[in-house]
Symmetry: C2
Amino acid sequence: MRALSAAGHRVLGFDADPETRATARSAAARVPAAQRWQITATIRDAAADAELVVLAVPLPALDDVLDALTACGYHGLITDVTSVKGPVREAVAARLRRAANPLAGFVGGHPMTGKSVSGFASGDPALFTGCAWVLCLDEATGLDDWLTVAGLITALGARVVPATSAEHDRAVAVISHVPHLLALALAATAASDPLALTLAAGSFRDGTRVAGSRPELVAAMCGGNAAAVLTALGDVQERLDEAAKALEGRDPLRAIRDWAKDGHAARQAWPPAPGRPEQVPVRVETLLRLGRAGGWITEVAADRRTVTAFLPVEGE
Amino acid sequence: MRALSAAGHRVLGFDADPETRATARSAAARVPAAQRWQITATIRDAAADAELVVLAVPLPALDDVLDALTACGYHGLITDVTSVKGPVREAVAARLRRAANPLAGFVGGHPMTGKSVSGFASGDPALFTGCAWVLCLDEATGLDDWLTVAGLITALGARVVPATSAEHDRAVAVISHVPHLLALALAATAASDPLALTLAAGSFRDGTRVAGSRPELVAAMCGGNAAAVLTALGDVQERLDEAAKALEGRDPLRAIRDWAKDGHAARQAWPPAPGRPEQVPVRVETLLRLGRAGGWITEVAADRRTVTAFLPVEGE
């Protein structure tokens, strides 16, 4: 809401919690009048004249909110910012099949940014500047709807990454969900040794930081993406098995040094730097290939026939 | 050198690299005259009148330096700051048996602090303030030698943690060596998916930070501590197997939430806060019990009969 309002859009918002609505109303009073969002008393009031509805609710609340939207006859475009995309796509598809007034269009989204603090008061209109924002291009996604949302989001300064829901869920399993499991396993292992906890410094602090996330949140992320998390966890465990073999061998120093090279090179090359901007034709396969190669788009052309795209270049 | 000089000790230093010696000499010229260290041209010159020699060399260089020290007839106390203590203890013991002039005393040490940048120019006299500094109390360690080094180091503002070499090596396997292996395995797994690398944000950044350490350093740490690292890695892998089972089960959300509780609680309670200071009698078993309970000492009494000790108290 803060980012869209600051970008000059007319924004109406609703939250199930009256206290959050009150906080959001007072916060609006503190921004320039032209950038002020409005808080409505019902979902119906918020959606009545909307061209786009952004669902910013956790996965377990999604079904109810989609039902409320169809119940009030909303026919416009919908996007969301939930961290797992397969279950969201399925929830929307189930409603499209069932609803007397099918939703006009749905584009699943996931901005790869956030803060360690929650609540409306922690919002920041600049939160999305430069962040990667996945927009799902699934078989059921209308390319025109996708371009509409992509245009809106690139205009906020985010880098839009095209991917299927399945590709997104596999990628976040590796870079977000499994890291939580590793952090929790490490913290739990250290817990049995008070001496270790007293000696722990930087590598333990960073390696376990996300173990501070609430177990409910970790469960929602990993449990909602179980198949992809299992695959990614299996890959990591395989590499750890190789490390164990290296340590058991006759020359552990040399074996661990060789084993460490891939991971070290990957980390040194991260984050990927952008190559030169390219004008890329708007075709589903071309966009998905761009996303698979680690690319992103920063602009949708006015005629919607091309997008401005970047591919990553090798780091050092 | 910087910390000991700043604390008013007379410090002489030697480094095998002439460039490092030059850097250390010019750096000395920039501190107040009373706090100036001297750089010598040989190990012999540095050790000639020393009461204590601090070995700050990597494990592979240790044998040569110990040989040079015995060759020049050094009879004083020695301590070191190497990150694995078992192999250091064995190297010293081998020389004690062999040398015509046995070393008077050895106390293995490991300050749990550091910087991501190396070299004399990166030194900081305040680096040890508040850090945990393990001093090994093995069977061969003279308690009087241990108290001498402990007194020196607590006066630098560090928290001295008594532990056997084996206890130290087991603890750092969990809190330092295994975190490096987890970070490397995670980074290597993500490397095969450019989409994942583009989406990666905070949890990947922190979870893989130490994968940026040079493979040679990781190999020296893990390879020099292979048995303890294997045990700790096995414990972490067992917990990851449990997470996999939780994900495969009928209710992955509830199972992961329950699985996550131990690690979450451990991370929330870390770092441990100090309890009230206590005067503890100087006895080997008492000191080792203190270390095993996660405690540390901040002062050695002038009569050397007690130390000021702290035990950790439960976090939130």
